[in-house]
């Protein structure tokens, strides 16, 4: 009896709160009406339309789809664009130079069929890097982008050991003239950020932009949670493979044209 009374009290106050919140919401939204309607029109799922003062949420899951049939052996347009975007420069020591994207050639042993593909951070949902990080610096943002918070990274490189895709790099050298949108410094681990600043500002990653601009069209960026996005439509019609799908990491980067 006491329990049910208590429950009903909670419900009523909740209802009050919700109705007040709804009113408050309407008032605050009103000045941003134009922004809201624009967002609605552009909500194709191919770019972010999140208002600039709203937190990222799991309503979106950003992903990449790479068609290995269209990805040419020897072409490094995406890698070059990535290096330019993030200010990655070589120190002439390839073993320790930072790389966010590598071009990899896979060969199917039984048939001899080769495919060339760009391999970057696969932006796993259950990311091993985030699992093992002792400080919480490696994390997966609510919208599915795996990142390193370099403010709290201590450079232990445990995440590099844990990553099955070998996608992470350690910065061994002092860095100067960093890009505004790509802070990076000695003693921290880094990897592909899916160009998170671009995404937050309604853009697409630099690699996808370069691949499309050069008319290769091997890469699609978009929201995996939005059934109307180009990436979801392409995945629905032709399917897509996750590399090392046996690990059940639910990667955000998918590949087409890979032989089983």
């Amino acid at each position: 009896m006491t329990d049910s009374t208590k429950k009903s009290t909670i419900d009523s106050s909740r209802r009050d709160f919700l109705s007040k919140a709804a009113v408050a919401g309407t008032v605050t939204i009103a000045p941003g009406l134009l922004l809201h309607s624009t967002a609605q029109a552009a909500s194709s799922g191919n770019i972010s339309t999140r208002p600039h003062d709203e937190d990222v949420s799991n309503k979106n899951r950003w992903g990449l789809l790479i068609d290995t049939e269209k990805c040419a052996t020897g072409c490094t347009d995406c890698v070059d664009a990535c290096n330019e975007e993030n200010g990655l420069v070589s120190h002439g020591r390839p073993e320790t130079d930072a790389q966010y994207i590598r071009k990899v050639t896979l060969k199917e042993k039984s048939t001899g069929h080769e495919s060339s593909l760009p391999l970057m951070c696969q932006h796993c949902e259950t990311a091993p890097c985030a699992d093992v990080c002792p400080t919480g610096a490696s994390f997966v943002r609510a919208d599915g982008i795996a990142l390193v918070d370099k403010h709290i990274c201590i450079g232990c490189r445990y995440c590099m050991m844990a990553c099955p895709y070998k996608a992470r790099s350690f910065v061994h050298e002092d860095v100067e003239n960093q890009k505004l949108t790509a802070p990076r410094g000695k003693g921290t681990v880094e990897s592909c950020t899916m160009c998170v600043t671009r995404i937050d500002n309604g853009g697409i990653p630099a690699c996808v932009e370069a691949c499309t601009a050069e008319n290769h069209n091997a890469m699609i960026f978009g929201d995996l949670n939005n059934p109307n996005s180009d990436i979801s439509i392409a995945l629905k019609s032709r399917g897509g493979k996750q590399i090392r799908s046996d690990l059940a990491l639910n990667t955000g980067v998918r590949y087409q044209g890979l032989n089983e």
Binding site: T28, P31, R50, H52, D53, E54, D55, V56, F139, R141, A142, D143, L147, D149, K150, H151, D174, V175, N177, Q178, K179, L180, T181, P183, R184, G185, K186, T188, V196, T197, R198, D200, N201, G202, G203
Partner: protein, 154 residues
């Protein structure tokens, strides 16, 4: 031994007192000059006293919100500090963080506080891709944010 120390105590105190009171010692302290943005509309996001004491708190708060929640258009960001306050001199050169002419470094050198932000972050203003995909300076973006905030407060 104690007597020996006492003998010295009086002259030593006198010396310390003289140093503290000496007007020449105060006048010689080179106070850093704060670079005001040349664009009038961008002055005083917060009053100078407030910023002098609390700028690090603003930046720290923005840091976590931006990194983890993706909120990137708040006015008190490190990028905005740099974009408004670090400007080219008469020769068109922009001072880097190692120079005592750099906006941040001027005060930090004076206060002898080491500044780590620029081991990773850009120390000079740069162009920026805005949410329409067009390249624009952060200044334009900041103006828009300030205008938006003013609209909400009215």
């Amino acid at each position: 031994m104690t007597r020996f120390l006492r003998q010295f105590a009086v002259p030593v105190y006198a010396l310390i007192g003289l140093t503290l009171l000496s007007p020449s010692a105060i006048a010689e302290t080179p106070f850093p000059t704060i670079h005001e943005p040349s664009d009038e509309s961008l002055k005083c996001i917060h009053p100078e006293d407030e910023m002098r004491r609390n700028h690090m708190k603003y930046i720290l708060h923005e840091r976590d919100e931006t990194m983890h929640e993706g909120i990137r258009e708040e006015p008190e960001s490190l990028a905005n500090c740099i974009n408004c306050h670090v400007e080219p001199d008469e020769k068109g050169e922009i001072a880097g963080i190692d120079s005592d002419k750099h906006f941040c470094n001027a005060c930090h050198q004076y206060a002898a506080v080491q500044i780590d932000c620029f081991q990773c972050h850009a120390d000079r203003p740069q162009k920026f891709i805005n949410r329409n995909g067009h390249s624009s300076s952060i200044t334009q973006q900041l103006k828009r944010t300030l205008a938006d905030n003013a609209g909400v407060n009215e």
